[in-house]
Structure formats: structure tokens, C-alpha cells
Amino acid sequence: MREISMREALKEAIREELLRDQTVHIWGESIESKGGGFAICRGLTDEFGERAKDTPLAETAIAGSAVGAAFTGLRPIVEIMFSDFAFVCGDEIFNKMAKARYVYGGQDGFSLPIVVRMKVGGYVSIGAEHSQTPLAPFMHAPGLKIAFPTTPYDAKGLLKTAVRDDNPVMFFEHILHYGARGEVPEEEYLIPFGKARVRREGDDVTVVAIGYMVDLALKIAEEMVQDGVSLEVVDPRTLQPLDMDAIMRSIKKTGRVIFVDEDVTCCGVPAELMARVYERLTEAGKPPVPMARVGAANVPIPYSPPLEKAVLPSPEKIAAAVEKVLV
């Protein structure tokens, strides 16, 4: 099968959806003049005219206009260059996108088909306001859906699904994934939300890894083979909906689990997952299994490379957590 980069996979998804459905439109900063913050959309304006358009530097207008446009007949894809900037339009995302359908009681078939694409991720030394991976605040907002692909194949299939979803979808793209290459078929396909993927089978410890953490987990999994430790790496792919069944299945097999996330640890997604696993087991009358979590240290993300490295998760930190649950 042909190999393409995640950048190309994302662009193909957007292009195909623009072709398929006239109500799909995309806007954001420098979308037209640069293809957006990370050049994903380069060339789309040539093909689709005003349907792929530069906005002013104005995140509340970008996110808020998506709400108004989705309510009135379009299916907007909008780009917020860096997920750190989502807090600039926090009201539009957390109070409007997340709540509107529920608050409207679903009347009139009310829906808000919006995709908000956001770059996330650190490891490239661009400082505290350009390096976050803020997942927990979005998962804490019922009404949003959340996708975070880790391969070009998943990126394309999930983004196409996101565009067709009638709910607001937060779509996260990791900065270190844009260039990553992988097999992507020429034929059209969709990937359903809420289906985790076992990225590596193993017997001893389940590693639930989110986003770029999958890459780190796979790396350390290979290394730990030498120590005779076999890791099973589960990629949830979407956090809302979340495939808890797949996670529990893997835990049933391995009897141990660690959760790995690039976001700040305190009140992060792994804490929620630990609570859910604990609750599931308890409700089933089973004893808890050994669990541990790996996340970013509870500080802003520092700029200097050695400091950033110290703060963010690493294969070594994952290995340490594995050791912890193996004891």
C-alpha cells in the first residue's frame, strides 16, 4: 500500500469531504495564504475558493462563527493554530459548542456539526504557551467529542468521521506526527469513534497511551522485550466516546495497567481512567489491579530543551511506571 505522511492524510480527508458535501467549509488563520498553521490545507483555496478561507487573527470569531454557521446549515471545520489558544475562545468551546444541543433539548434535530482542529504537543522547545496537550479540560466538558489520531491511517479515517459527525469534535494533531509516514489506502474509508486499537499485543502490562505517547510506548515496549517484559499498547484513538471495554479487555489479559498522557498530570485524563478502571472492577466484585500513571509534571512546559525533557513523559518514565506495576 502507498505510504503518505499524516500531513497528507489530513489534507486528503479535508479535501475529500469538501468534494463530497457542499456544506463543508473550512476557515482559520492563514488557511488560504499558508494552508493554516502547519500547512495542512495548502492549495485547498485554489480548488475550493472561499470554502477554504483566511480569517482575521481572532479565535473567538473563529470558534464562535463555527457555532453560528453550524446552526444555520454549514458543516464548518475550523483551525485553532495551537491548542493553547483554545482558552482564548474558551467560552465558545466550553459554554457554546459543548452545551448547546443539550440546552436546546435536541429539538428540531438541533445539532452542531463542527470540527475544531488543533495542533497539540511539546518536545520542540517553543515554550509554555505553544506546547501544551490540554485534553482533560475538553473531556471535562460533556457535549464535546474528542479524537486524537496517532497514524496517518487513523488520522484520515477519524477526520472524515469527525466531519460527518453531527456533534462538535475536538480534533487533536500532534506536532511530531505531521511528518510521520504510514500506509493509507487510496480507497475511501471511515474509522468509527469509540473504537480503541491495540497497537501492540503483549501479556504483562497494559499501556493505555494517548496521542504521541503511543510512539513512546511502542519504543519502550521493544526495549523491554530484552528484560522479558511484554507490553500491550492500547491506543484509545477517541477519548469521547471512549472504548472502556477494550481497555478492560486488555487489563483482564495482563492484570496490570499504566496510563500515559502528555497533559499535566493533576486532574488529567489518566486520573479519570484510573477511577473508571477501579470502579469497573469494584462493581464487578473484583479486586483492583496494579495501576500507575505517567503525565507531564505539574508545571507549565519550560522552554529550554533539557528542562522540557525533564517535564514531559519519556520512554524511561514509562518504563519506570511499568516497573512499579510489575512489583
Partner: protein
């Protein structure tokens, strides 16, 4: 736009209907245990009626939190709106939303509890209107307080640079909760803001419903013709306090100011105008008043007698499938 006799009677009806619903809500808040908040729009009916009455059914209207007039004039069923406000199962959102919820079919846009969030939502509806090419227009109502939010700047600029068919209509009643405009804005007239977006900005007597309707419809026709957004500032006044039931002080404005404004009640003024111009007789107008009092009483009884939502409703409608 030239207004026929029927148009004018419609404007009158829409103002009076808004007033009667409003009076009923004030009374409900005083006498009955009612959930939520009520921001009375009594005194401001000319703006809502003038802005909404002559819009197309498929035009969009972005509401404010004050009064029902604009929504009723846009075609929202008042009885179900009221039921929603009372948290009943018969409300548009089965009680989940409260009164900021109108059916999509009425052309009323989503309203948020955060003042100023109306601006980008309206710009977005303007994007749809422009791209879908059916000649729809968006009218965004907003208060003088809302005009202080940054969302105004981002949205008016977007609408202007993309030439979106949005008419921004400011209901300037001089106060935001208790803060006088002079404490909160550096300009005296909100219309001055239009300059920064290279769009027309006009000041209108917000107590004169015909003046409002004329200005709005002129801007609507401009927008419909693809000539972009405009800003219309309507000077008006609310008779009651910011909200019912809350512990609002009264010291922030003078009795004289209140009395001065009440001399120019929009309904009284327009009634006189209709009589003077021979568009209606006193008996005809009295009959309308009576009919609407009756309508509102029945709506209120119906809403109050409506059942509460089933508890299970709390857990549905979060996601569309």
C-alpha cells in the same frame, strides 16, 4: 421600506404582545415561585418589534436576554417559550434550557448566558447566509453592555471584511446591570464603533418603532443585496430594574430620569401615531389590547399547568447520533 396600514397594525400588535407577556412574567416572578431569572424589557418594545417584525421567516435573529418582544415578533410561540421559562416539559427544550431557547424554525439563533457571545454566533450565521446563497440576512440584537465585550470587535471586523449580511442592532438602554454607559465606555454613542469597521453606523430613536423598523429594514435590504453589514444604535430605556427578584439597588439612576423616559413610552407614542394618521381607531386598538391580554393569560395558565419534565430527561439529548 414603505409601511402599509397592516404593517403598522402588526408592529403595534407585536409591541403590545411583548409588553403583555413581560407584565405577566413580572407578575409571575413576584407572586409565584418561578425558576430562573427575568430581565424585563418593558419600555424597550419598539426595538424588538421594529427589528424583527418584517424579517423573512428564514432570516436569522440573534436574541438578547431582555424581554420576549423580538422573539414573538419573529414568530416564536409565546406559550411554549413561557413554558420553557417555567421549566416545563412542554417548553421548547423540555425545560432543559430556560428561556434562551427558541425553535430553529422560527429563525431565532442560539443565545448564550454569556453576554457578548452573540456576536460571533451572528457572524457565523452570516457566513451560512452568504455561502448558501438564499438571500438570508442576520439581525443581531445586543445591549450597550455587550458592546464592551471583545467579541464585538472580532465579529464586526469579520463581518465587515467578509462582507457578511449581518445587521448589528444595539439596544442601548444606558445601563449594564447597574453601571451607566458613561462609566463603561469612552464614546457616548455605540454607533461610533462602526467607523472602525468601515460600515455605516446610525443612531435611531429607539422609542419610535417606525424609525427602528425603517432603519433596520434599510440595512437588511443593503445586506440582502450583498452590500455588507451595518450598525444601528437604538436609544431606549428599561423601566424596571435589571432583573426581577434579585437584590438590585435603585440608587444608580434617578427617579427623574426614569420619569423623563416614561413620557416617551413606545406603545403610547405609536398608538397616538396610529390614531393621528387614521390608521386605526381607538376601539380597534383597544380590541387588540384586549385580545392580547387574553392570549397571554391563556398562555400563562397553560404553561403553569404544564407538567414538569420526567427526571430521565436530564440524561438525554447530549449528543446527536
Amino acid at each position: 421600506m414603505k409601511f402599509t396600514k397592516e404593517d403598522k397594525i402588526l408592529l403595534y400588535r407585536n409591541m403590545v404582545r411583548g409588553r403583555k407577556y413581560d407584565e405577566e412574567l413580572v407578575e409571575l416572578f413576584a407572586k409565584v415561585k418561578v425558576p430562573g431569572m427575568w430581565h424585563s424589557g418593558i419600555g424597550q418594545e419598539a426595538v424588538g418589534a421594529g427589528a424583527a417584525t418584517f424579517l423573512r421567516k428564514d432570516d436569522w435573529l440573534e436574541p438578547t436576554h431582555r424581554g420576549y418582544t423580538f422573539g414573538l415578533a419573529k414568530g416564536v410561540d409565546g406559550k411554549r417559550w413561557l413554558a420553557e421559562h417555567l421549566g416545563r416539559a412542554t417548553g421548547f427544550a423540555k425545560g432543559k434550557g430556560g428561556h434562551y431557547v427558541a425553535p430553529k424554525g422560527s429563525g431565532v439563533l442560539p443565545f448564550g448566558g454569556t453576554i457578548g457571545s452573540a456576536f460571533p454566533i451572528s457572524a457565523g450565521a452570516g457566513i451560512s447566509a452568504k455561502r448558501l446563497g438564499k438571500g438570508q440576512v442576520v439581525v443581531c440584537l445586543f445591549g450597550d453592555g455587550a458592546a464592551q465585550r471583545g467579541t464585538l470587535h472580532e465579529s464586526m471586523n469579520l463581518a465587515a471584511v467578509w462582507q457578511l449580511p449581518v445587521v448589528w442592532v444595539c439596544e442601548n438602554n444606558l445601563y449594564a446591570v447597574t453601571a451607566h454607559l458613561s462609566q463603561s465606555m469612552a464614546v457616548k454613542d455605540i454607533a461610533d464603533l462602526a467607523h472602525g469597521y468601515n460600515m455605516p453606523g446610525v443612531i435611531i430613536d429607539g422609542q419610535d418603532v417606525l424609525a427602528v423598523a425603517e432603519a433596520v429594514m434599510e440595512a437588511v435590504e443593503r445586506a440582502r443585496a450583498g452590500e455588507g453589514p451595518s450598525l444601528i444604535e437604538c436609544k431606549t430605556y428599561r423601566y424596571r430594574n435589571h432583573g426581577e427578584g434579585g437584590a438590585f439597588p435603585t440608587s444608580y439612576r434617578t427617579k427623574e430620569e426614569e420619569e423623563e423616559w416614561k413620557k416617551r413610552d413606545p406603545i403610547v407614542l405609536f398608538r397616538q401615531c396610529l390614531l393621528d394618521e387614521g390608521d386605526a381607531t381607538a376601539e380597534e386598538l383597544d380590541a387588540i389590547d384586549k385580545e392580547l391580554v387574553q392570549e397571554v393569560l391563556e398562555a400563562s395558565r397553560w404553561a403553569q399547568e404544564s407538567p414538569w419534565p420526567e427526571v430521565g430527561q436530564a440524561f438525554t439529548d447530549l449528543y446527536a447520533d
